[in-house]
Symmetry: C2
Subunit: 214 residues, 2 copies
């Protein structure tokens, strides 16, 4: 059955899923990249964004899994870009260059209307202004029976969690202190929402945890 999932989402020791003060210079927030050390070195990441030479092993396996059977993506507007408020023009086309690593429809949650943006490689960004449930409905249709991946950021995941709409979360606990930023679980009672730990695998750089609804 088709799932709604979060995957390869890194969390710091102090519970943050991104660093503070995201900007054009710091797409992942200040010190955010330290969260993703486990991923940058992998074969799957290096194939997408690097020189193609990366390492295999636990982190790579989880990295690869995070892209498998994904039929559509949903992301918050801040994951798409650093611009806040109305779109000034159509110049901003995401962080990822002309050929983003999604290769599916991507539904971007925003309060500000914008025309769909067709990229190379099969990625089209759709800007959704009528809420998370509408975005999920459209994503499920676009996914045609495959899974829908909620990319992030923290606020988007929190909204879907609180609405009870996520089937599975793969979190990657990185041994990093960020100090401030957006806390993933603050005020959210995961066991009450039905989640339990279904998998735990450790690597040199991270602890992989999969949470599923019972």
């Amino acid at each position: 059955m088709s799932k709604v999932k979060v995957a390869a989402f890194a969390v710091s020791l102090d519970g943050f899923g991104a660093g503070p003060n995201q900007s054009l210079e710091n797409p992942l927030g200040v010190r955010g990249p330290e969260l993703h050390k486990w991923f940058f070195k992998t074969k799957v990441f290096q194939k997408m964004h690097g020189d193609g030479v990366g390492v295999e092993g636990v982190d790579n396996t989880f990295g690869e899994r995070s892209f498998e059977n994904i039929g559509a993506w949903i992301m918050g507007r801040n994951m798409f870009g650093p611009i806040r408020g109305p779109w000034i023009n159509d110049e901003w086309r995401g962080w990822w260059g002309g050929n983003p690593p999604y290769h599916t429809s991507v539904f971007v949650l925003t309060h500000h209307k914008r025309e769909p943006l067709v990229m190379e490689g099969g990625t089209t960004f759709y800007f959704i202004t009528d809420g998370i449930e509408s975005a999920l409905k459209k994503a499920k249709e676009a996914a045609k029976g495959k899974d829908v991946r909620i990319g992030g950021g923290v606020q988007t995941i929190r909204e879907y969690l609180k609405a009870g709409l996520i089937d599975e979360l793969h979190l990657v606990h990185s041994p990093v202190l960020l100090g401030s930023g957006e806390n993933l679980f603050s005020g959210i009672d995961m066991p009450k929402l039905g989640y339990t730990v279904s998998e735990k695998v450790v690597s040199e750089d991270a602890t992989h945890i999969v949470l599923c609804k019972a």
Copy 2:
């Protein structure tokens, strides 16, 4: 040099250092024991509280280390017992029976005066009503050059952290969701306080993290 340290302190995936609703039946809060799965099986724990037969390995090594060179303990009143408000009588003598596992002076933070309580095996509980700095001063004197261990619970550790008085924390991240309880780091900016990750070792049941002041 003598250190003030937290050791073998378990934290859940959602950031809690104890379960909710501590009581006589649930000294560690509801589902709190799941946090300590890594420890219960170890040789060091089984020697103290069990049949003496436990396993060695990473968790046991860290468990043993947590008791080494400790000259005095500090704990919050809720770690000492389930009673709230004034002491009704002197009947409550801690959770640990006649011979508690401390074997040093233990300074218990409370708002309510009580006479020192001498136990078997070298443990004496002193009840400190004039604040955390006074307790630390007394503990350092009692420790005679050895380390002072802040046992817990969460609120006690948070107070010492915020006051900048802890040199080292050994946290044990357990793959458990507690949902609610006391959050260890909420609102505390650890990098700003000078802490960095100095050690990370994984085991089957936990990820051991040591945080030190730079």
